[in-house]
């Protein structure tokens, strides 16, 4: 029998740093709209794809976008999963309560999908193709989580 290997010295480093991200014009307009409960997509003038979330540039056509169009807060569930592992929430540094639903939602008026939370009160109702609607916070701050989650429309 070999002797247990002694534990090696370990060095603990606590790293604390803050980075500031400039959101850019499209995200600025999008998030200011969210603060008023308004969702908007950017349309590519070449391929007509309506991007949500909006971004400045269509990577397929290599062209800048500046044509905005309204998007509903109701759409279709394209993909979904239920997460049972408590992963650290980057906003709070605390484990996120689980289980929680995560999905890709194609909102009416957009051609791309939005990655967002799903209501898991009744997970059996989650299915690809289900119609879902945003549940908004009472007080909007212009942030991605102003929408609490999407719930399946009865």
């Amino acid at each position: 029998m070999t002797a247990a290997k002694p534990e090696l010295v370990s060095v603990t480093l606590d790293l604390d740093m803050t980075w500031r991200y400039a959101s850019g014009d499209p995200m600025d307009r999008f998030l200011n709209g969210v603060a008023k409960g308004r969702l908007e997509a950017l349309r590519c003038p070449e391929c007509d794809t309506r991007y949500l979330p909006p971004r400045p540039f269509c990577g397929r056509c290599n062209v800048a976008m500046d044509e905005w169009g309204p998007v509903s807060d109701t759409g279709t569930l394209i993909a979904w999963t239920v997460v049972h592992l408590s992963i650290i929430d980057g906003r709070t540094g605390e484990p996120r309560p689980s289980p929680y639903g995560m999905g890709l939602v194609q909102l009416d008026g957009a051609d791309t999908t939005l990655n967002h939370y799903l209501d898991t009160a009744d997970p059996d109702r989650l299915s690809i193709g289900a119609r879902v609607k945003a549940v908004w916070r009472d007080e909007l701050r212009g942030a991605m989580d102003d929408i609490i989650h999407f719930e399946v429309v009865p």
Partner: protein, 313 residues
């Protein structure tokens, strides 16, 4: 027999390029800032998006506060559904990677893009985290401290009292195997990475640059560096580094250094070397036979060095 890897490679033209104005804080997002440089470079090179076969980007996750920091720019560098390689070092190292891709015959035209936003977080504080976590980080050693060690080794009067103004910027350069008449071509490249631990190196010299330049000279057929170059464009962040540069490259006292203005008035991390390549190419374009030396550096006190020799056709 000469080492095959050191033989003169296929010429690679610097078709064009562009850079954003270095400002203390660019209020645009990273993709918006990068798009200005990329669109300007394609325009300057007179190529279309579809003419670009591959993309090499330079960015550092630690500086951007992002893992895989190239995800911020995938669309604006035209890398969607195309081969993209990211280099986590100075933009000149990315340019050399692109030169190798072209010289190997893998791609005809490659777009090289570097971005850096020093305004996002305290830069010198961040560099502490680029140091070894067991022996150096607990002591708070950062790049500025190591630059100070180096400056005082060289001359008392060269203390780190001044550093290039760090800001936000992006640079893009189009490299190609098709060489228009009068274009600047890259005829030699060299690259070297020295030991990380400052005590393992002779900080009184940039020996890594000496090796990098030697490799580039061998490829480009430069026999007398003291008389070979119309211009040298070094990446010097501190005044004392100019002496190190001249000594390591053996370019002599008469080669004009940084006629474009150099980095002291403003540069962005990671972007510097690529802007030097562009400046060197522009300095000699249209003057057949003229050569210029461009240099990029990264890491503590010049741990990494990359050199390109450009020559006008």
């Amino acid at each position: 027999m000469a080492d095959a890897s050191r033989q003169r490679q296929r010429d690679v033209a610097v078709l064009g390029g562009a850079e954003t104005e270095i400002v203390p804080e660019d209020l645009r997002s990273i993709p918006e800032m990068v798009l200005e440089a990329v669109a300007g470079a394609l325009d300057d090179a007179a190529v279309q998006w579809e003419d670009v076969d591959a993309i090499v980007t330079a960015s550092v996750d630690l500086f951007d506060g992002l893992t895989a920091s190239s995800i911020a720019v995938t669309e604006v560098v035209g890398a969607v559904l195309k081969p993209e390689t990211r280099i986590a070092a100075d933009g000149m190292a990315a340019a050399i990677h692109a030169v190798h891709q072209i010289a190997a015959g893998a791609y005809g035209t490659v777009l090289v893009v570097a971005h850096g936003k020093a305004s996002m977080a305290p830069h010198w504080d961040l560099t502490e985290w680029a140091m070894d976590p067991v022996y150096l980080q607990p002591l708070g050693v950062d790049f500025l401290t190591v630059a100070g060690l180096q400056a005082n080794l060289i001359a008392d009067s060269n203390r780190v009292g001044r550093c290039a103004s760090l800001g936000d910027g992006a640079c893009a350069v189009v490299l190609s195997s098709s060489v228009p008449s009068g274009a600047a071509v890259i005829t030699g490249t060299g690259h070297d990475l020295d030991a990380h631990y400052p005590g393992d190196r002779d900080l009184s010299t940039w020996s890594g640059l000496q090796r990098a330049a030697g490799r580039a000279y061998e490829q480009a057929g430069v026999r007398d560096p003291a008389t070979a170059f119309a211009v040298a464009e070094p990446s010097c962040m501190f005044p004392h580094e100019e002496g190190l540069f001249v000594e390591a490259t053996a370019i002599g006292k008469n080669t004009p250094l940084s006629p474009s203005g150099g980095l002291m008035e403003g540069t962005a991390p990671i972007v510097s070397g690529l802007t030097r390549l562009l400046a060197a190419a522009r300095a000699i374009e249209g003057n057949p036979g003229r050569r210029a030396l461009a240099h990029g550096a990264w890491g503590p006190a010049g741990q990494g060095h990359a050199v390109a020799i450009v020559e006008a056709t």
